[in-house]
Symmetry: C2
């Protein structure tokens, strides 16, 4: 038999990470060489152990899975990335693929299936959960312009327009204009609903 696939496991939930490590270890051709609980930790571990496949949770403290994937792409081009997520937002999938991620699946898959997918991406193939892919396609591209998205992000925590204007170095009128056009494009009543929708679709 060829040498086993070396896997890095990154998830902030100890319970899941440990359980997963145990289950994957039952597979003869897989070996978990490192675990991490945060984005930066995952990067450090990847540098230290140079795994064949990195299984990354999408939401982790420090840096999310996509950011880690982006860094890995340049630092360890040979390391394939498989993203696992609880709440699949269409935009995330798009960002992930742009970052060179080879696989993207929800946490509702079984461990058995995950093991298969690790082999799949290790073999150089790609895999995206069909349901998530359908969502991403139906959600389509973000209709927002760069500025609109930027301003919307600044508005995310409910900050008043004056504060957004200062942070974005724009006139208040301009900020209101972008928020308004973003809300219109998203079919939202106001900017707060717009933020919520953009979040759901992964456009911010």
């Amino acid at each position: 038999m060829t040498t086993a696939v070396r896997v890095l496991l990154a998830d902030d939930e100890h319970l899941i990470r440990g359980a997963l490590a145990a289950l994957l270890s039952l597979e003869e051709d897989l070996v978990v060489v490192a675990e991490a609980a945060t984005g930066p930790e995952a990067l450090a571990m990847a540098r230290a152990h140079a795994p064949d496949v990195a299984v990354l949770d999408l939401q982790m403290p420090g840096a999310d899975g996509v950011k880690v994937a982006t860094s890995l792409r340049t630092e360890l081009p040979g390391c394939k990335v498989l993203i696992v997520t609880s709440h699949g937002r269409p935009g995330h999938l798009k960002r992930a693929l742009a970052a060179g991620v080879r696989g993207f699946v929800p946490k509702t898959v079984s461990a058995q299936r995950l093991a298969e997918l690790i082999r799949t991406v290790h073999a150089g193939n790609r895999y995206v959960d069909p349901e998530l892919a359908a969502d991403a396609i139906s959600a389509g591209d973000s209709p927002l312009t760069a500025r609109e998205a930027e301003v919307l992000e600044h508005a995310a925590d409910g900050a008043p327009v004056a504060e957004i204007a200062e942070r974005a170095a724009l006139a208040e009128g301009t900020v209101r204009n972008y928020l308004s056009s973003a809300a219109t494009k998203l079919g939202a009543e106001n900017r707060h609903a717009a933020v919520r929708l953009a979040r759901e679709r992964g456009w911010v």
Copy 2:
């Protein structure tokens, strides 16, 4: 040895549920008798198998862990409930304890620890994660009155005041008043930030 502890496992993420079931099965004195992916399913499974301990995820489709716990309390008083959660909000802990939950821990605990806790609650003891407990205590009780909380909930999705007023059968001025006082109590700039804060503390 006495007969093994019969455990019900409910979590919407197959990956985790399966992995967890496998790990707990390694413990000689624990046996997973049923699994569920949704709140209603968890209830049905509990009725069918009458487990000794129910390990419930806080966030599940259909009905959350606390709602399931509330139903279980009357239907199966002998069944101890242990809640597991990814994002611990102080208010949830309070609601959970009020619902008669015997244990409340974040998913960052290890499987080994979880097994111990299952035994702990089965023995009739309680356990609450110290960090979550500290958060709950420092966050304190909700300062919001019934109406304030109600109006804030209606405002959650960014709806305009007119719509909230209609749904709550109040004058617009009254709605604005409640939103304003809620925002003041929470130390928020405006109602949208207030909604966010109340969500974080589990007060809505």
